[in-house]
Amino acid sequence: MGSMDIRDLRARVENINALPTIPGVLKRLLGVIENPGVSLNEISNFISNDPALTTKVLKMVNSPIYGFPGRISSVNQAVILLGLNVVKGLLLGVSVFELMQKTMIGLWEHSLGCAIAARLIAEKKGLKEPEEASIDGLLHDIGKVLLILQFPEEYEEAMRDADIGNLSIYGAERAHFGTTHASVGSWMAQKWRFPQKLVDVIEYHHKPHLSKNAPVESAIVHLADILVRARGFGFAGDHTLMAVNPESWQMLDLSEADLRDILGALEESLEMTEELSL
C-alpha cells in the first residue's frame, strides 16, 4: 500500500459513491449535497420524504449534541433554526452513523462526544454559532470512515500497527496510505461543498495551528478530541492520546474552572446520549 499514488488514492476516495457497500440513503444524500444550488427547501423535502431519516434528524436536534433539547418537533423548524450548512452536516452525520458502527466500534461515540465537547467549548468562548462547532466535532473523523470503506484491509492493518506499536492511528495511516484521515476527510468535505471552515477543521484538527480559515474552530475540535479521548469515551482507532497544541491551548485560554465546567456538562450529556441510538 505504501506505494499507492496519492492522486490515485484521492480519485478512489472521491468515487466512494460507486461502492456497492454505500447505503442507498447516503448515496441519494450525497447527490443532493453535492449540488451547488441546493436549497433549504430541497433539503427539507429530502428529509421529510424519508420517515427513518426524519426520526434520526429530530432525535439528534433534540439531543444534547445541540443546545436546545426537547423543543424541535418538525423538520422544517429544525432546518430553519439550524441553517443549510448545519443541516447538511447533521444529515451526513446521521447517514454515516450505521457505517461508523459497522466499520469502527466506538467511532460514533467518539464523534458524538466530540460534537458535544466542541459545542461546550464554543459556548464557553462565546462563539456565535455553537451548533456549527457541534457539526465540526461530529464530522472531524469522517475521513476514517471513507478510508475504511475504500480500503478495509489496509485500514485494518494500520489499526493493528497502531495497536502493536502504540502509535497514533494518524501516524499509522500516514505510513500505510501516505496521507491521513484528516486530508481524506477534507477532500470530501470540499467535494460535498461544505463551508471552508469545516474543510479546515477536518484538515487541521491534529495541527490546528496551521489552519488559516478556522484557527479557533480547529483549536476547539482539537481540544474536544483530546478531552473525549482523555476521558476514555468511545474509540477512534488507537489507544494513544495526542498532546494539546500549545498555541491552540493558549488561544482558547480556558481557565481550570472553565475546563471543570466543560467536563461536568460533557459528562451529563454523554449519559443522556447513551440512549441516543439512531
Binding site: R231, G232, L241, A243, V244, E271
Partner: protein, 98 residues
C-alpha cells in the same frame, strides 16, 4: 446510567426527562424535583424506569478508571498543559464517585 426503577426513587431527586403517560402526554416536566406524593403517583403509573439527573454511580470501579487515565497520559504528561488537563480530569472523575 441515569435510569432507575420507580421503587428506588427518593424525594429530592430531579427528573432528567419528562415522565409521560401511555399516550405521550407529559405528566411531570424535565427538571421536576420529586416529592413523596409525586413518587407515589409515578409508582402508580407502573413505568419500567425513570430518568433521574445526576445519579450515575459509575459502573466501573474508581481505581480502574483512574489507572486507565494514568495509562493514557503516561507518555505525554510532561508535554505543555497536559499536566493541567490530567489534574482537572482526575478531580472530575473523583467527583463522580462522591
Amino acid at each position: 446510567m441515569p435510569k432507575i426503577v420507580p421503587d428506588k426513587l427518593e424525594p429530592g431527586m430531579k427528573l432528567l426527562k419528562p415522565v409521560k403517560n401511555r399516550s405521550g402526554m407529559v405528566l411531570l416536566g424535565e427538571g421536576t424535583e420529586l416529592t413523596a406524593e409525586l413518587i407515589e403517583r409515578v409508582r402508580d403509573m407502573d413505568a419500567d424506569s425513570i430518568s433521574i439527573q445526576g445519579i450515575s454511580p459509575p459502573s466501573t470501579p474508581k481505581e480502574e478508571v483512574l489507572s486507565a487515565l494514568d495509562r493514557r497520559f503516561k507518555s505525554i504528561e510532561e508535554e505543555p498543559y497536559m499536566g493541567v488537563i490530567k489534574r482537572v480530569l482526575k478531580e472530575h472523575i473523583e467527583g463522580l464517585y462522591g
